[in-house]
Symmetry: D2
Subunit: 333 residues, 4 copies
Amino acid sequence: MNIGVIGTGNIGTEHIRRLAGHVSGARPGAVFDVDTERAGAIAAAVGASVHREAHDVIDDPAVDAVLIASPGDTHAELVLACIAADKPVLCEKPLATTSGAALKVVEAEAAHGRRLVQVGFMRRYDPGYLQVKSVLDSGQIGEALMLHCVHRNPSVPPTFTTDMTLTDSVVHEIDVTRWLLDQEIVATTVLGGRQSPLAADGLRDPKLVLLETDAGVLVDVEIFVNARYGYDVRCELVGATGTVTLDTPSTGTVTRNGGRAQPIHPDWQERFSQAYVDELQAWVAGLARGVTGGPSVWDGYAATAVAEACISSRGTRTTVDLADRPSLYRSTP
Amino acid sequence: MNIGVIGTGNIGTEHIRRLAGHVSGARPGAVFDVDTERAGAIAAAVGASVHREAHDVIDDPAVDAVLIASPGDTHAELVLACIAADKPVLCEKPLATTSGAALKVVEAEAAHGRRLVQVGFMRRYDPGYLQVKSVLDSGQIGEALMLHCVHRNPSVPPTFTTDMTLTDSVVHEIDVTRWLLDQEIVATTVLGGRQSPLAADGLRDPKLVLLETDAGVLVDVEIFVNARYGYDVRCELVGATGTVTLDTPSTGTVTRNGGRAQPIHPDWQERFSQAYVDELQAWVAGLARGVTGGPSVWDGYAATAVAEACISSRGTRTTVDLADRPSLYRSTP
Amino acid sequence: MNIGVIGTGNIGTEHIRRLAGHVSGARPGAVFDVDTERAGAIAAAVGASVHREAHDVIDDPAVDAVLIASPGDTHAELVLACIAADKPVLCEKPLATTSGAALKVVEAEAAHGRRLVQVGFMRRYDPGYLQVKSVLDSGQIGEALMLHCVHRNPSVPPTFTTDMTLTDSVVHEIDVTRWLLDQEIVATTVLGGRQSPLAADGLRDPKLVLLETDAGVLVDVEIFVNARYGYDVRCELVGATGTVTLDTPSTGTVTRNGGRAQPIHPDWQERFSQAYVDELQAWVAGLARGVTGGPSVWDGYAATAVAEACISSRGTRTTVDLADRPSLYRSTP
Amino acid sequence: MNIGVIGTGNIGTEHIRRLAGHVSGARPGAVFDVDTERAGAIAAAVGASVHREAHDVIDDPAVDAVLIASPGDTHAELVLACIAADKPVLCEKPLATTSGAALKVVEAEAAHGRRLVQVGFMRRYDPGYLQVKSVLDSGQIGEALMLHCVHRNPSVPPTFTTDMTLTDSVVHEIDVTRWLLDQEIVATTVLGGRQSPLAADGLRDPKLVLLETDAGVLVDVEIFVNARYGYDVRCELVGATGTVTLDTPSTGTVTRNGGRAQPIHPDWQERFSQAYVDELQAWVAGLARGVTGGPSVWDGYAATAVAEACISSRGTRTTVDLADRPSLYRSTP
């Protein structure tokens, strides 16, 4: 399988590295980036061709499938082109920057009649989240009643806005909630906590985001992007008879200087590195069988719509109104 | 020190047992209960006298201090009698069943001019909570921004109402919040999660209680009184540069049958048994020096007022309006 | 109960503090120390009388029971005096500095015909060790097959010798082994590990001590008295179908600076502070009922004999030959 | 890279599955097994050819490198054939069933002049062991002084002998010790613990294995192959100023039925599944660069020699006498 990669920023470059050295059955075959020089250097290192336009990657007959890792505002249009070209595509989140644009992609793929698009919610491939889902689905903790989430970044660049804490960060908990519970989110409330003295001017941080599902499950998410100490993602799913916790993955403990300590990942790339490999491997294995699975454009649309409702909420409960779900996406998300 | 104990239900009996066998410098000297037979048997076992009326305990010249463990609706009146008799008293929570009644006690003690009353918020003596406070006060995690709490009981008797989940259970988190942060709570919102199929008819369980302090710290409390698996109280205090967690206390791990497990306490008596001993010991040590410390009637009043606001809130934010704080209680709570 | 305390060094002073403020039913009534000034100051602080000779404490008719915390080489003779005076005594370990001297105490008490002496192996009162014993005795991990122990001190004074690592430190694991398993130790081998660069000249540190019980259970003990990072005592008891672990007791976790950490105690006083209180409380409660329980002089003798065998072993297996066990000590140790 | 796989038992089949679906840059190209039918079915499933003799795989010009997963007593001869054919080979442990046979392989490869052979000690690729090594090498716990290891299997087949607990199980700790510490093992003592009532007749289980390195580090290994509760491999490396622990890897906790539990792997395949993938990926990546790294035939020889010494030891200290180390293996093992 030759994979055409659009976008060679950090995420795209990491995907190319993984395709070249950690995924069976695929190789990075073609590359595009607006920074032609960077694209060329990366392509040369892995023996891939370089294209002058993003659409050239999609149209390249040697490219069997496309991986989109360009800036978010280019995603929807590129995915539509892939659908039009009947070419499988893995699109990094977000699927689109507005729910309206995402819905157009949903409608296009639904009209096309079969799934071509997987959206890059990699947490669904994380061993920890898979264990949480497996425990819930086994019935050993009873039905889900509540979900507590924590999402902390050590810091963010100066360009990171309050809205981005919802569309770029909390969007992962939005998808995780829908996937773990197999329920849609119908309302959301965003509350400010005490402002961190380390947050940039104008950035509201930390916040508590409440999500309500159509089955009445209440989800609370602490989003805190100036936590300083490390990248920390945890959750506890509360069932009727027990709970399951996603802990910080740990393989060892260092005891020194008066304490017994487990290290915490410095950033999300390191925290989810195995999830990214497993996501790509599952996608490629599906391509070989002609099947696209994983998070769908409907998941991408719903996540964007909920994130939009979060932005609208300024301390008040905001409902989420989704379009009708096409039959292509009727199965369990 | 001869301690007069009013009320020999479960809590009172446990207190008598501790006074007789685990607290230095005091003994249970006199006992009253409406169940005279029970009171007599317990008194005989520890060599205490029995009184026919609660007020006889207070008036007994051989009683140096009073411990009130009778039903909650008798507390305020008995504490007022202790103040009138100038006799130190440890009153189990609640101080009163309404904030109005609690305020009358505040006013009475403030008029009396010095503290005689300690309210039985025993969590302030728990080694785990003390560690949380110590870490926060040390400055090593920066200033407090958020507090996440979980409060789970395995089950409750059929008489336990939705209001009692707030006045009897969450009231502990209300006091802990005020004590840990040294801030007043100014607003509260109570939200229902998905109803547990194991909760009794008419009991709304579990719920998420949000508390906001005058410094803007947001506190979320999961209250779940049908959690089945055990009694579980935990919290994570989020500071600007780190967090401190109150874990389930553990001294050992049992590895068998495919898992490595730490036991969880079956009930609050076992969970907080050491806290109760330390609370009594600290109270008795203070009596010997003529000093009453620990949670004050102001703390009892504020906790009741916040719990009332929680009852009023049915999904909507409700503000808490406290009376003016008398100068007697101006110091750190 | 008036307790006469002989020896007001660190341990004795701590015992007096506990008797005065943390133990129900007893008070420090008389005190002796070779440092008369120190003894006087401590006695004055708790309202106790001061004696000029250790034996005056034992002979004082106002003293109901004696607590011996003087240097180890004075213990045996003082305990013999207590037996002669028919006065209950709690003797800090070691019971004697040689097994021969300890055996004389065994013979004296056996001749006396009933137990008066408890030896101060406080670990038997630690909640963690009690949990290990409770899990083993419950049968849930099957019969005991092996025991792995770690015993680490951050550092020791310059006067601490290689022999003392066995007689003062490992002696606790010797007693714990006998008590947990209810088996005698029949052989021991002491092996040197790589020498710590931080150990004083002439001090062999760390070492691995192997103990074999009469039922064939193999026990390994790492003794390391220059571990620097803290005071750390742990063990794992391996049964036929599972294991139970004594962990470092923990009530909280601090997450900062890239790690999630549980503090470790700085020294044994802090680690076993609750065990010491519970030991004294159990002893005093027994005195009130006229009963002496806990570790016996036989336990003190056996521990000393095994420690002597450890000293004799220099890399070679050394057998332990105990005297006949008098019927007074035939019951479960 | 076309990989020829010799042996399609459990381990060989798992390797083929990994090569076909989880390793970048390689595919299973040819297969042999004495069970021709089984080999044919597996080859067909992944599009590989089948050979009638093991040596045909080695000689197949379409095979770029060989993976040996046949029974241990065939390894040495097949590896020698690979060296003679100048073909890279990954040989499952053991390299040979006697140290004499292993030494012949060492001499053959040394005569060949460059490394072709990697021995399958997969633990060196486990994230947990890599963290232990990384912490030690960072200097943050000081120099290594002791190493405590636990190696438990839930059960073994009836054919598993006491010697095999050393050559097949403890051999992993032998290699880990040499690799972590970069030291040779010079002596060993094997001691029996109390016999498990669940061990088969004639199987001595559990045992304590002591290893001493040329730098004086003492290593103790509990080997217990009837532990019942799960597959459990842990170690604690004790440094001069701190320790590092290999914990059971965990990503989540399930709280129910009165306890908080982390699952333990049922067997070594699941425990080390990621280590096997990473081992193969590293080997294949090296092949692409013309480099063979990882555990060498010297490591395979030394491990076999130490395991032989363990077998010789029946409670007595047995020294290990290694041949001279050829210069090809002079670098860090």
